[in-house]
Each structure stands twice: as structure tokens, then as C-alpha cells.
């Protein structure tokens, strides 16, 4: 047994010797960012889905224009130094700045811009939908995107829409990312337009280039030393896959990472107390909402839907469930966008809801189901809503599941009530919200317009469709604002199938000595401006 004791103590001593103290902070010229990367499936700008990938590519690819991080309706020049809209609103002409080059050394030309847009439409993957919505297709791409000379790009609109929304679309990561056509085509494999190669390589003109992507491990971005614009502050950006919010928090507190992007509300709250860490919250895209399926005859009755509107404790959810996730909003257009009305001010009003239910023929309420993804804040919101529904006699059984299960049921129109998140908002344009949340061009089951939440809820109102379409093509700005206000008022009266109770916000924690971090909406933060004050 003595031998054993010796063995044991040897192991103990050895293990203490092995441990040397770790560095307490990240290197001065490297920014270390932590977030969960399980959703990154590809780094091809035409194929990406999800905000995590946007966060990577926002630093690799430039767009013609940039959406202003602070003033949401402002669009700033980037690769294009100016643009003009034709008097008939049918075409947009961009003038490229001179001197912009790709990381490969190739100059950024109008041919690259046009090629990138055509590639997007030809591949017809996730990101193409932003332009398809406005009538662009692979078939009309040759006509729609042209380059009369090396520094001019002309975009001809196939369908009458507000040209501003197209300009904004070109400012978001994905549809608007400009690729180095020569470099990509050198890696074309069997006509895939470089898709396979771009999965884990980059060909952009942005401040950083892709050094390495290891799925579920890390993304390394290296400074593009030939960057045409202001020199990036950091030599390298190390993005680390940290799936757990608590791990992110520990590493942030210790200074092993500089910015943590996917922290839970509880961890963000705890970090607020730390002097060394700051928390920044900025607008995201879309809403948290309660949706009904109008395939269910109960919910076809407007009075029932209106009753539900008064069975949500807006303020309570805002105060307890949604900090760091969302901020109170009960209208279908995000606050701060042009035309957005102030909140309607709905409150939990059980008596009023009961009266409405009686009028609709349900004086004692009814039984139903309420679906929600089994994560925060969906589950908490669903539980709170279940409780307030019960006050008016509506007994809602909660069904939880993964995103695939919950939104899958919604896409198949097989659900009753659902707490969800969505409703566009990637573009700072009211149309982006309305088209996603209420617009429904064809209510037939066979149409399968699953990309419209309006279709998923089976809410169909010809008038509101017409109003949304008309507002988008309105050329008189003041009249357009009035149009969007009118849509919100009409939305309040007709009570569609989706009632928002908050708009999405994104929150990040970062070391207090990180300067120049300006959160862009929807994870498109450009980290070029970030420096460390140490």
C-alpha cells in the first residue's frame, strides 16, 4: 500500500508542476472574439444563413454601400463613392471609388460587382431571396446588372419598388458582398462558380482576409495589408467557437477573450457589475411575437385574435423575460425606421379580453396549444403568456421543441398558437418588416410560400397586401411615410395573425479597454475600427 501512496503523491506533484500560470490578457495586436459558431456552415457569401456567419463576413467583404450603424436609415458610401437614382425610379447608377483593390491585388471593377450579383442570382441560394423578393431572377440578371464602364454599375429594377430598398439590400452582408471574380473563377469546379472553394476561402476587398476556418473551433482573420481604406487597428482577429455562455463569461472576465457575442441574459446581467467589462445593446432585426394559425376556425374570428392581444403582459415580459433579448414593441414596424408609429400601448386587460371572447362565442375560453422553441427567451415568454391566457379561460398546453420542430410546424401551417421570432428587419426599411410579417400574395396551401410568415399564419387580406405594395413604390417620401403609418393603423384595426410584443435587440459584452466598437444591427459589426487601450 505504501507503493500506492507513493504513486498517488507522484501524480499529484506532477500535475501541479505541469500547471504554469496562464496569460492574463490577449495580445495587444490581436482581437479575440468568442461566440457560438455551430451555425456556420459555409463562408460563401451567396450561401450563408444566420447571423454568426454575417459577423465573420462583415470583416472580409466590402459592399457598394454601408448601412450606418447608428443612424439606421442612413446609407454611407463604401466601394461606391456615389449613386444616383433615375428620375423614373427605374434604375440606380453607382460610381465606384478609384483605388479599391481586392486582397489578391486585383482592382475592384464594375465587372466584379456585376459578376457577384449575377452569381448570387444564378446560384439561387439563401441570400438570393433578398433580391428575388423585388423581382430579380437568374433569367433577368443580365439585363438588371450592367457595367457600362470600369467604374460604373447600373442596376435596372425589374419591378417597380422603392430604389432605396435595393440600395439598402446592397449594403447587407450576403446579397451585397462584392467578390473578386478573377480569383473565384480560378477555383471554379465544374461550373459551381467557386462555391466549393469559397466555403472556406475568401476573395474580398475588406479590411481582413480569411486566414483559417475550422468548423466549431475557430475563424482566423488576418489583416489585409493592401486594404484600400483606413488601416485596420488589429493585425489579427481570432474568432473562437465558445458554445457556452458561461465559458464566454469566464473567459471575458479573465481577459482571455475581448468580445463575447453570444452571452445569455443571466451572464450579461452579472457582467454589468464588472468594472472591466462593458455591455452594449443595439437594435437587431425582427420581433418576438405571438402568432395564431388562421387554419384554426377559432382564430379566424377577429374578436378572438383581438382578445389575445389583451392577454399579453407587454410590460411584464419586457421587464422580466426580455432584457438583453428584446425591447417592448407592439407595432409591425421596428422603432426608429421611417414611418414607424409609437407603440400602440396595448396592455394586459383580462376583462376586455373576456368580453371579446364572449362576443366571439367563447365566454368560458377554450383549450389550445402554444408552441415555443425550448430555449430562452421563448420558453419563458410562452410560460408567461400561458399564464395570462389562463386568466381568461384559455387553456394553452405548451409544446416545445427545436427550431426545426417549431418553425417546421409553422411552415406546414399545423399549429394553433406559437411564440416566435422573425419578421424581417435585416434592412432598415418598413417594407422589410411588413413583407415578412403580414404580406401574403397567395394563401393557397399549394403555394407553399413558407418564406412569408403571413402565409404561414394563413392570414390573407387583400387590402393590406395592396397597401404594402403601394407604399413601396410611392415616390413622394412624405406620402410614403403617411402610407406606412396608415398600414400600422390598419394593422391595429384588422388584427392580423401575428401580434409582436417586442423587437429584437442584440447584446454583447466586451473588455472595457476595447475602443471603437460600434455594434451594427444584426451582427454585421465591422471590427476594423476596434483598438485596444492597454
Amino acid at each position: 500500500m505504501q507503493r500506492m501512496g507513493k504513486l498517488f503523491s507522484t501524480i499529484l506533484v506532477a500535475s501541479t508542476l505541469l500547471t504554469s500560470p496562464t496569460w492574463a490578457e490577449t495580445p495587444p495586436n490581436m482581437l479575440v472574439v468568442g461566440f457560438s459558431m455551430s451555425n456556420i456552415l459555409t463562408l460563401d457569401p451567396a450561401a450563408i444563413t444566420g447571423k454568426e456567419t454575417v459577423q465573420v463576413l462583415a470583416n472580409i467583404y466590402d459592399n457598394l454601400v454601408a448601412l450606418n450603424a447608428v443612424n439606421r436609415s442612413q446609407v454611407d458610401p463604401l466601394l461606391a463613392e456615389s449613386w444616383t437614382i433615375s428620375p423614373d425610379n427605374a434604375a440606380i447608377t453607382f460610381k465606384l471609388r478609384s483605388g479599391a483593390i481586392f486582397a489578391s491585388g486585383n482592382p475592384v471593377t464594375s465587372a466584379d460587382v456585376v459578376w457577384s450579383l449575377k452569381r448570387l442570382m444564378t446560384l439561387n441560394l439563401a441570400q438570393a431571396s433578398f433580391l428575388k423578393t423585388h423581382g430579380f431572377t437568374a433569367a433577368n440578371a443580365d439585363k438588371s446588372f450592367t457595367a457600362p464602364d470600369e467604374t460604373t454599375v447600373v442596376i435596372t429594377l425589374p419591378k417597380k419598388v422603392d430604389p432605396q430598398i435595393i440600395v439598402q439590400t446592397l449594403g447587407i452582408v450576403g446579397p451585397g458582398s462584392v467578390l473578386d471574380s478573377k480569383t473565384v473563377m480560378e477555383h471554379d469546379k465544374a461550373g459551381d462558380l467557386g462555391s466549393a472553394w469559397l466555403t472556406n476561402n475568401s476573395a474580398g476587398s475588406g479590411p481582413y482576409t480569411l486566414g483559417q476556418w475550422r468548423s466549431n473551433e475557430r475563424v482566423i482573420l488576418d489583416r489585409n495589408d493592401s486594404y484600400w481604406g483606413e488601416k485596420p487597428g488589429m493585425k489579427r482577429i481570432m474568432m473562437r467557437h465558445l458554445a457556452e455562455s458561461q465559458s464566454q463569461r469566464l473567459m471575458l472576465e479573465k481577459g482571455d477573450i475581448d468580445i463575447a457575442f453570444s452571452l445569455s441574459a443571466a451572464d450579461l446581467k452579472a457582467l454589468e457589475a464588472s468594472k472591466e467589462v462593458e455591455v452594449q445593446t443595439n437594435a437587431g432585426s425582427g420581433f418576438y411575437y405571438l402568432a395564431v394559425s388562421m387554419k384554426d376556425e377559432k382564430f379566424q374570428k377577429p374578436k378572438v385574435r383581438e382578445a389575445l392581444r389583451y392577454l399579453i403582459d407587454y410590460q411584464g415580459l419586457n421587464d422580466t423575460v426580455l432584457p438583453y433579448f428584446g425591447r417592448l414593441r407592439d407595432r409591425p414596424i421596428q422603432a426608429g425606421l421611417f414611418g414607424a408609429l409609437p407603440n400602440a400601448g396595448y396592455t394586459l386587460d383580462v376583462e376586455r379580453a373576456k368580453a371579446l371572447l364572449s362576443e366571439a362565442g367563447y365566454p368560458d375560453g377554450f383549450s389550445t396549444t402554444l408552441r415555443a422553441i425550448s430555449d430562452a427567451p421563448f420558453m419563458n415568454a410562452a410560460t408567461a403568456i400561458q399564464a395570462t391566457l389562463a386568466q381568461a379561460g384559455i387553456k394553452a398546453d405548451i409544446i416545445t421543441g427545436s427550431g426545426d420542430q417549431i418553425y417546421g410546424a409553422m411552415r406546414e401551417r399545423k399549429y394553433e398558437l406559437l411564440v416566435g421570432r422573425g419578421g424581417g428587419g435585416q434592412l432598415p426599411h418598413p417594407d422589410s418588416n411588413l413583407r415578412a410579417i403580414v404580406y401574403n400574395p397567395d394563401n393557397a396551401d399549394a403555394a407553399k410560400l413558407t418564406n412569408f410568415q403571413g402565409w404561414r399564419t394563413a392570414f390573407y387580406d387583400e387590402k393590406i397586401n395592396g397597401m404594402v405594395d403601394a407604399a413601396l413604390v410611392e415616390t413622394d417620401k412624405a406620402k410614403q411615410v403617411k402610407d406606412y403609418e396608415a398600414i400600422q393603423t390598419y394593422y391595429a384595426d384588422v388584427v392580423p395573425a401575428i401580434q409582436p410584443f417586442a423587437e429584437v435587440v442584440d447584446s454583447v459584452g466586451y473588455r472595457a479597454d476595447i475602443k471603437g466598437l460600434v455594434l451594427n444591427p444584426s451582427w454585421s459589426t465591422r471590427l476594423r475600427t476596434v483598438t485596444k487601450e492597454r
Binding site: 505541469l18 466555403t199 475550422r214 482566423i220 481570432m238 417546421g408
Partner: protein
């Protein structure tokens, strides 16, 4: 004799093939019954029907299930394991990358688990019902019953955040990433090959905590099993006889009783190592360890069947390999099976 041996070998090979095919069919069915949609994972929430159907056709998700299965098996027979939906890389490349991380973790863990577990189990058996036994049983009970996710988190808070003894998440500190060439993928070995001690110590520093926690939990199991095997032996008459004959206690324990449980121990240690190699998804998640467990789980969650099936095959092969290995060790330890 030779024919007998040949037919035994044939039977064994047959069993292996049947096992692996069964495993494939089962995994495929489970994967397809799960409410996940690989096409949706690729195209995202916003995509319209045309895009969805185009991608479904490209990856063959629109085919009937049995056709999908046969297509997969057909490719497999030609040595093509397919491309992962989630990473866009050939599955084999992905596995070659995640497996070393897991091998490092599992090997270190099993060294801790068996290295401490077996002696502690013997000690507990020998000192049965004495304070040492109670302490060991209490410790192993904790190791066995605490959720490993929680132990990992507490470990990080204490040893990383508070005491600053070990590294945080990941396999290396950010400074050291990419400094040594990847030869085997095993960081400890690669850094030694490159003669880079700083990287070596940093890798050890990151490995220590997750591997010890995994090791602790498998130690708990190994200790309890060793103790009960040992007690079985110590209650046998031959032990009393040996003691009466005047053999020292330690000689009786080590040369007689322990010699008899070696075979059983080999089996449980091999199985414990096998399940560690399968990947410890919770520990890997807490410690951001880019290993096999996370890989298989994340792929399962998006219905990336090429990757999942290959992983399951690999796990099957690992277990069969370990079984064969422990059979071989039986023959060394137990003359009767020769």
C-alpha cells in the same frame, strides 16, 4: 485445425460485418426519424420554395428513404464517405481533424481513470468497511453521480477563473495557435516533434482540467468495479489458504487476487476507453474542445447524415477493435483461453 481456425475467423468477420451494417441501418433510421431538416439547415429560414427544392435535389433529400440509404451505402463501398453538409469538407478530413483532439483527451482521461481507479478500488476492497473504504466510496459516488457538465463548469470556475492554474477553453492559447506544424494532429506529440516546449506546456495546461474531470468520472466507475471484483476474490477460500500458509498480505493481494481480476479489469477499462473515444460532448462543449463528440452531435442536429453515419461506423469499428484487443489480452492474462 487450420480449417477450424479459418471458420472461427470467418464467423468473427461475419459478425463484424453484420454488426456494422445493422448499426448503419439503425443510425440512418434514427437520423431520418429525427425532426431535423438538412435542406433547411443549408438554405435557411428565408429561402423560398424554388431554392429549397433545388437544394433538396442536389443533396438527394427528395429521394425516397431507401434510395437515399442505398445511395449512401453504394458510395461507401467505393470508399466515398461523402461531404459534410455542415462543414462543406469531405467527412474523412473532418474526422481526421477532430479525432486527434478526442484521442488526446480520452487517453489522458483513461490514464487518470485507470491509473487511480484500479489502485483505489483494490485499497477499498482490502480495507473494506474501514474509514479509507468509506472515503473512497464517497468520492467515487460523487464522481459517478455529479453531472459532468456541472463538474466541468465548477472546475473552470475554480481552477481557471479563481486559481489561474490551468487554461480556459480550447486546446491552446491564442498565441500558440498555428505555431507547430500539424503532423499527427495530437498537439502534445506535434509540439514535441517540433521541439517547441512552450506549445507543449500550453497544450498540457489546456488538457489537464477537462481530461482530469473526464478521468475522475471514469475513475469512479473503474474504482467501484475493481472494488467489487476484488471483494469477490478476497472472499474466496484460496485467499484464506494463502494467508494461512504464511504468504504476506500484499503478496496475496497482488499476486493471487489481483492476478485473477485482470481479465475483467481489461474489459471494463477497454469499454470505458471506448466510450471516452466516442467523445464526451458535454465536456467538449464546456471546454470548447473541438472533438469527436461535438462533431457527431452537431451534425446529428442538422441531419448531416453523411457525417453522422461515418462517425457511427467509426465508433462501431473502435468498439469492435477494443473488443478484439481485450480478447487478445485475455489470452495473455488467462492461460485457459489460449
Amino acid at each position: 485445425m487450420n480449417t477450424a481456425r479459418f471458420s472461427a475467423f470467418g464467423r468473427q468477420a461475419g459478425t463484424i460485418v453484420v454488426t456494422l451494417v445493422g448499426l448503419l441501418i439503425l443510425t440512418f433510421c434514427i437520423g431520418r426519424l429525427m425532426p431535423v431538416d438538412p435542406v433547411r439547415a443549408i438554405v435557411g429560414e428565408e429561402a423560398d420554395r424554388a431554392t429549397y427544392e433545388m437544394v433538396a435535389e442536389r443533396i438527394g433529400a427528395n429521394l425516397p428513404l431507401y434510395q437515399q440509404f442505398f445511395r449512401y451505402v453504394g458510395d461507401l463501398l467505393q470508399g466515398d464517405f461523402g461531404v459534410s453538409i455542415r462543414t462543406g469538407q469531405p467527412v474523412i478530413n473532418d474526422i481526421l481533424h477532430v479525432m486527434p483532439a478526442t484521442i488526446e483527451l480520452a487517453t489522458f482521461a483513461i490514464i487518470v481513470g485507470a491509473g487511480l481507479g484500479i489502485p483505489l478500488g483494490i485499497l477499498a476492497a482490502v480495507r473494506r468497511n474501514r474509514p479509507v473504504d468509506h472515503v473512497i466510496r464517497f468520492l467515487t459516488l460523487i464522481g459517478h453521480s455529479m453531472p459532468i457538465f456541472w463538474t466541468g463548469m465548477i472546475g473552470l470556475i475554480v481552477f481557471y477563473a479563481a486559481l489561474d492554474l490551468v487554461g480556459g477553453g480550447g486546446r491552446l492559447s491564442d498565441y500558440y495557435i498555428g505555431l507547430v506544424p500539424e503532423t499527427t494532429g495530437l498537439l502534445l506529440i506535434d509540439s514535441l516533434l517540433a521541439g517547441d516546449w512552450e506549445v507543449f506546456w500550453d497544450a498540457v495546461n489546456h488538457l489537464l482540467l477537462p481530461a482530469s474531470i473526464l478521468g475522475y468520472s471514469s475513475m469512479a466507475y473503474i474504482t467501484r468495479m475493481t472494488r467489487s471484483f476484488m471483494l469477490d476474490q478476497l472472499n474466496q477460500e484460496y485467499v484464506t489458504t494463502a494467508r494461512v500458509k504464511g504468504l504476506s498480505k500484499s503478496r496475496t493481494v497482488w499476486h493471487h487476487a489481483f492476478a485473477n481480476i485482470r481479465v475483467q479489469l481489461v474489459t471494463i477499462v477497454a469499454l470505458a476507453y471506448g466510450s471516452l473515444l466516442e467523445g464526451a460532448v458535454l465536456i467538449e462543449t464546456v471546454f470548447s474542445w473541438p472533438g469527436f463528440g461535438q462533431y457527431i452531435t452537431n451534425n446529428m442536429l442538422v441531419g448531416d447524415m453523411n457525417a453522422v453515419m461515418t462517425c457511427v461506423l467509426l465508433v462501431g469499428v473502435i468498439f469492435i477493435g477494443l473488443n478484439l484487443l481485450s480478447d487478445a489480452l485475455y489470452k495473455i492474462f488467462d492461460p485457459r483461453t489460449r
